[in-house]
């Protein structure tokens, strides 16, 4: 299916929820799947931030959102979650929140390129990452 099929607010919201659940399911399979689990966990936050951004900026699609924020693809893919979060009105509260260290210490290390990473990672690493994802995700849910 085309990427454009999933550009709407509800699609991004659903994807966020599902990918986070997938991430934990993969994590529970053991260290062979640690990086995959981390990739999906970070991706869940990306979808969550995009859904919130579309709602706040009253955009129906990601294409509209990108135009409204004046963001280019290179910005999104270089700084990903940081750029998305930074453009939300809730960002100053996030900076002062109890989950800021989860964001800066774990979640913001996420890169889309992790999906290409062939190396094995420790389960403890994915556990710590996904716990941070959970805390940031729930904070976003409660503070959007």
């Amino acid at each position: 299916m085309a990427r454009a099929d999933y550009q709407g607010v509800s699609e991004q919201r659903k994807a966020a929820f599902k990918r986070k659940r997938d991430a934990w399911a993969l994590h529970k399979q053991g260290s062979l799947h640690a990086r995959g689990a981390m990739y999906l966990g970070g991706y869940a936050v990306e979808c969550k931030l995009k859904a919130i951004a579309m709602e706040i900026h009253r955009c129906r699609t990601l294409a509209q959102l990108a135009r409204k924020l004046g963001m280019e693809d290179s910005q999104i893919y270089t700084h990903g979650l940081e750029a998305l979060a930074r453009n939300l009105p809730l960002y100053p509260r996030l900076q002062r929140s109890s989950v800021w260290r989860d964001f800066s210490g774990f979640v913001n290390r996420w890169r889309p390129s992790w999906r290409y990473d062939p190396n094995d990672h420790r389960s403890a690493e994915s556990e710590a990452f996904l716990q941070a994802v959970d805390r940031v995700y729930h904070w976003l849910d409660s503070n959007q």
């Binding site: 700084h79 940081e82 900076q95 002062r96």
Partner: protein, 95 residues
Amino acid sequence: MGKTLRKSSSKGRSREQVKRILHDAFRHRFPHDTVDISDGYEDNVHVLVVSREFDAMSEKEKQDVMWGVIDSTPLNDREKGLISLVFPVSPAEIK
């Protein structure tokens, strides 16, 4: 927008002063390791340290060490909020 924000981080210290304080604190704590304080998105700051000290540490322990250094500086909460990436790396993770 980014250029304007880069001038200062708060009413107190400039962003460059914040980066200098971070650099000095991490260099003091890790005198022989790679310490990189760089620009993040807009006025954010990224902190990266590559050290063998992290080899046997859990991810939480690494973060505790990094934030311990940050908390030992005179930076206030607003200035700490500029630090959007805290990245401790063990060489073993790279090899």
